[in-house]
């Protein structure tokens, strides 16, 4: 099961990297935006891997805590970064 998770996460990572590439072609991103997008995406992907691992090892509480701590942080970072990019675009 973990092997399948790694495979799916590999595909997801590829998709995220491609989306970032497309975004950077359409919008000029500064270093802060890049950092936010990469960190946020990485945290979400990490939380998925953590949660699946925890469920498989039989500790569901660790899975929910992982999603809460890493996944939610990732979502917050991505949201803030997206808002920052949008506000910069409006100024431009």
């Amino acid at each position: 099961m973990m092997d399948l998770t790694w495979y799916i996460l590999g595909v997801l990572t590829g998709a995220v990297a491609y989306s970032l590439y497309l975004t950077s072609k359409n919008i000029t991103l500064n270093w802060l935006s890049w950092s936010g997008l990469i960190t946020g995406s990485a945290l979400i992907l990490f939380s998925i891997a953590w949660a699946v691992g925890s469920v498989l090892e039989g500790v569901p509480r660790a899975a929910s805590m992982g999603i809460l701590l890493f996944g939610l942080s990732g979502v917050i970072i991505l949201t803030l970064t997206a808002r920052m990019i949008a506000s910069r675009k409006e100024v431009d």
Partner: protein, 464 residues
């Protein structure tokens, strides 16, 4: 005419400098992460030491096996010989809890161990008692029906059966060590390390409580051991998680069976190569220092050896042999002692308060009365625990305990994310360990006295 051109080149130069600075910063960041990663990996493999990693004083005396807690508890003769030991312990129990005090006698109460009535509480029913007794049955059969501490019994017999005359010569010490470890892997060892015999860790004299007899290394043991092969067998995470219920005895006994089976087979392997060998469970010598010397782990607060990936969730057996030309493993430290200083989760979980909250010391810190600390090894800088209190809880519980194993943050199933936490722990400074301990609790690991774990165990058959 030249002015605008100058401004343009100056702007270009500044932009180029900024780009260079950014690239430099990014490069430094990547290098720092890489360096941290490499350091963590190196430390997770352990820092090798030329000498035994725990300081040992010159006046350290070898442990008399008659003073080993289980041997003493199993011996009527020793209890009769040392009434002051029972007296002193009872005085302490009375002092600590006068109202709940009930007289305790190491030998008499030990006779009733694991024979008490079934209870209505989860983990203490006929089902769990059956699991515990069955778990231990194989190890007992292999050891000729004796206890785990009994020497010269069953597969740990001192008779050199199946010894061949021709001594196989390995091309090099490295080849010898590799052959032994490869055989150990086949016979089911989780880990195997090889170390030189160190008399400090051998009992002297050896004592067989079943026949109430002292045994001597010089007169009774069949040969002079030169090398000790240390074997580790894994205990099941989910069964151990049911600690301190009777259920966890199932995996304790089962791991003993695996550990002694591997040691027994390795003994025959060595005898077939022409070398004398004797398998040993908890007899002949102390497992923990030999496992540390063989580079398999590091001594922890709970008195056990923490081995990478599995923590304290292992049982250790040994093979004493006269083979000499083998490459010895170096002891390694993994940052466990530093983590234990800040963690203390085992001490908090210990129902009998046998585990110390103090720092490492040369002598026990819980008492200095010789009639009370008769079993303690003095002269090693380590965490000193009161084994008598632990033994008493076993009797009260009518089964062993395992809380110090189940609650340890190093006790985790072998999953990738725990290796990540291990990497963080080896490079993080001390105060961070206290934070990691809290996170371990927050994430739901190491809970003891949890009836849910018992129910969960009995549903695990669906996965087979």
């Amino acid at each position: 005419m030249n002015q605008p051109v100058k401004i343009e080149s100056s702007e270009k130069l500044n932009a180029s400098r900024r780009r260079f600075l950014k690239l430099g910063l990014a490069g430094a960041g990547v290098a720092a992460v890489a360096a941290g990663g490499i350091t963590a990996i190196k430390r997770m493999e352990g820092i090798p030491h030329d000498e035994f990693p725990l300081p040992v004083r010159d006046d350290f005396k070898r442990i008399d096996q008659r003073n080993q807690i289980n041997i003493f508890a199993n011996s009527k003769a020793l209890n009769d010989k040392h009434p002051e030991r029972n007296r002193s312990f009872n005085a302490q129990l009375k002092k600590e809890n006068l109202e709940g005090y009930k007289e305790f006698h190491f030998y008499k109460t030990r006779r009733e161990f694991m024979t008490g009535p079934y209870r209505d509480t989860p983990g203490y029913s006929q089902l769990e008692r059956a699991l515990a007794v069955a778990g231990f049955s194989s190890a007992r059969q292999q050891l000729g029906g004796g206890s785990m501490e009994a020497p010269n019994s069953g597969v740990s017999s001192w008779k050199q059966d199946m010894l061949v005359k021709n001594r196989y010569q390995f091309k090099s010490p490295k080849e010898g060590a590799l052959a032994i470890k490869s055989a150990a892997r086949l016979f089911g060892a989780l880990r195997c390390g090889i170390t030189k015999r160190d008399e400090r860790w051998d009992y002297d004299p050896i004592y067989d409580a079943s026949i109430e007899r002292e045994l001597s290394w010089d007169k009774d043991f069949p040969f002079e051991p030169k090398t000790i092969i240390v074997i580790m067998a894994e205990m099941d995470y989910h069964t151990m998680a049911a600690a301190p219920s009777w259920m966890q005895d199932g995996t304790v006994g089962d791991a003993y069976a695996h550990a002694i089976k591997t040691a027994g087979q390795l003994t025959i392997f060595l005898r077939q190569l022409g070398y004398q060998a004797v398998a040993s469970m908890n007899d002949l010598g102390i497992n923990a220092p030999y496992a540390i010397a063989a580079g398999l782990g590091e001594g922890a607060r709970n008195g056990q050896v923490i081995t990478p990936k599995y923590g304290p969730r292992v049982r250790i057996s040994k093979v004493y042999t006269d083979i000499e030309l083998v490459e010895y493993d170096k002891p390694r430290t993994f940052g466990v002692a530093s983590f234990c200083l800040n963690c203390k989760r085992c001490a908090n979980s210990c129902p009998s308060k046998a585990i110390t909250f103090d720092e490492q010391s040369w002598e026990p810190t819980y008492s200095s009365d010789p009639d009370y600390i008769w079993h303690a090894s003095r002269g090693v800088l380590k965490f000193h625990n009161d084994a008598k209190k632990c033994a008493k809880f076993w009797i009260d519980n009518d089964g062993s305990c395992g809380n110090c194993i189940a609650s340890c943050p190093y006790n985790k199933p072998d999953f990738w994310h725990h290796r990540l936490v291990d990497a963080q722990n080896v490079i993080a400074p001390g105060p961070m360990h206290a934070f990691m301990r809290e996170m371990d609790i927050f994430f739901g690991y190491g809970k003891v006295d949890d009836p849910e774990r018992v129910r969960k165990f009995w549903k695990m058959g669906t996965k087979i």
